[in-house]
Amino acid sequence: MIRKSKYTRKASADGWLRIKLTGGAFAFLCEYTRVEVTKEAEGRVFFKVAEGYIAVGQEGSLSKEHAAQYLSDNGPQGPAKVIVRYKGEPSDEHSPYKGRLRQQWGELTAPGVIAQVTLNSKSADIPGGYTPIPPGDHTILAPDSSHRVHGDTRGYAMATPGMVGNDIWFPIGLNGSTVNSSRYIHVGHLSEGCVTTHELKKWTALYNYLISHRVPNSMGKYVGQLKVQK
């Protein structure tokens, strides 16, 4: 039996790769997910999903053509490191996508990327009860599932030619926790305590950096560290 580690690549600009699970249903894997190839049969490449949060331990397959395109020998690099600094007090903006919002701005720094982010959004109509992410060292987790539904992050992608990974959100574990806090690093103009990449044209570089990194020996579940400073 052949058995070889391969790493997924996206099949669509939104960031996901669809695979067929044995039994007929589909599953969606993010990039750099390790799979263990087990066999080739009837024009398909079969593998076991080995890491991440989705379909782990299940057998999936791709056509030979898609396997050649979307399974790579190259795995992720080591842990990612991202720094976010608060920028002053909340201030008003008129988002072309979301209208008038009071934003807590921040600046995100990662290798090759400096981007404006919003750490919390409030509107006059809906005060909301969220708070910006607290200063400290937090864990960036691997993507959990799609967050797209028609009319959502695709609008940002359509307005930003070349954007990839708009549908990939990175959960945050607070204060070193590895539990999804429901705060995410993602692209957009609306934040409920997330690190929301408001500067849309910077998202692709940040996405490519984050998705290609994993903390070693974490079964592909952790991407790296997010340091938040005031």
Binding site: G24, A25, H147, D152, W169, G188, E192
Partner: protein, 141 residues
Amino acid sequence: MSRSVLNAFLLIACSVGVLAAQDKPSANCDLLAKLQKKPKSLEFVSCSRHMELQGKPWMAIYRVDGTHAAEVEQFLVREFGMKKVTHTCCEWASTQNSYVHKDGRVFIFEMGSGETLINRKDQWSKIPYFNVEVELETEEP
């Protein structure tokens, strides 16, 4: 079996002019209506084929006003095994729900609010619309 059924579906679709209008909205691929499982409160918006996506799916788009969204959610959970809509930062959503029809066709169901600051389910009526997407894959991954 599943391929032949899918091909038959596409042949029928072609015969009524759907394939002649690829990537253009069409009322001819109201997928839930074709499955005879469409809640009354769910409004068909459009349908088009997305050649740029893996699987080259037909994608039917629907919407339901926030007042009736919970009913539609329950229907999709019951009939198609969709996961319940949950709230994560900035949106309500249930995504990447794969449903294998008895004839072998694979559909993907998604339902969500888009970005919103409404974060309690008992306030869904304040959300103007929830979107529902139903995809029919035309190629296996």
